[in-house]
Symmetry: C2
Amino acid sequence: MAADPLRRAVAQLSRFPGVGERTATRLVYWLLRQEPGVAAEIGAALLELQGAMTRCAVCCDVGTQDPCPRCSDPKRPAHTICVVERPQDIGAIESSGEYRGRFHVLDGALSPLAGIGPERLRVRELLARLEAGAVQEVVLATDPDVDGDATALYLARLLRPAGVRVTRLAHGIAVGTELEYADKSSVARAFQNRREM
Amino acid sequence: MAADPLRRAVAQLSRFPGVGERTATRLVYWLLRQEPGVAAEIGAALLELQGAMTRCAVCCDVGTQDPCPRCSDPKRPAHTICVVERPQDIGAIESSGEYRGRFHVLDGALSPLAGIGPERLRVRELLARLEAGAVQEVVLATDPDVDGDATALYLARLLRPAGVRVTRLAHGIAVGTELEYADKSSVARAFQNRREM
């Protein structure tokens, strides 16, 4: 560990993904030019973060309460669970206004290349929720990429025998995209998932 | 201030230049996936930073000692001062191995558009060092851009009457650059600064 507070701050900020030593140095010198207290305020917020945060034992979302407000809300229908890879995916789904059921955070996706198998994901917690009974449908909202597809396939095979309906979010050309500018993977998905009119 | 530690950490990290809410959110969720203690270690380094850092009253560099090790080093010749815009510029010059004199940090450059006049820079401190006598040459190492050029011109006019030699770092085609790929401003500078052979 560097003895100099400046170099230590650079080393610590370089730990963030996508922040190299060059960027960290720029940020630290920016901090030194600010009003006294700015570095301390940012530091205090990070210091507080880890101690205050917990995981909901039901949906595995990250927050300050366990169970989280969503899982303890009696007005939220419990018969549907939307499975996402990351806590921050929940916000994207909620803001669509289309879904008001429960969620489950997998905490990643299957990735044989990165050595991430089902035991590294929150699959056991999901199965425990299904055993409790009330769930009728599981909506898989994993990413439309190789890992997300593999995870969805794995979960569908695992959950269908439990007698629940397993669906997956539709992927295709994004709303508002002109066909001319759509990426080829989205166009390919749009063809695969085309519907009768 | 947000009550939720997660949102507070996002808000605080968004204060960094170039870090928007989206990036800050990504960093905070990354922190939450790390071993316990990572957020606390980064936070502690920032918290420590501001209290421990000071400015050298002589050269205005940022560090933990005042006067700084460079200004209190009797082996470092005091007859030349290299003037830089930012503390981090000193490292670039020292690593060239070409200069072993003293430094002076201006803490910016003149910028009429941004409303930064000489009174906002550490010009007074520079003049005080010249009044002390021993200085024979001031090497201006401000950036080769509009603001850096204006600052160099201003300082040259201000310092020459004090009887010191005022020079500026040469700008031209960077060493190792093939002419074909050199940017046009560098080529223009190289022409303006061409030397007799």
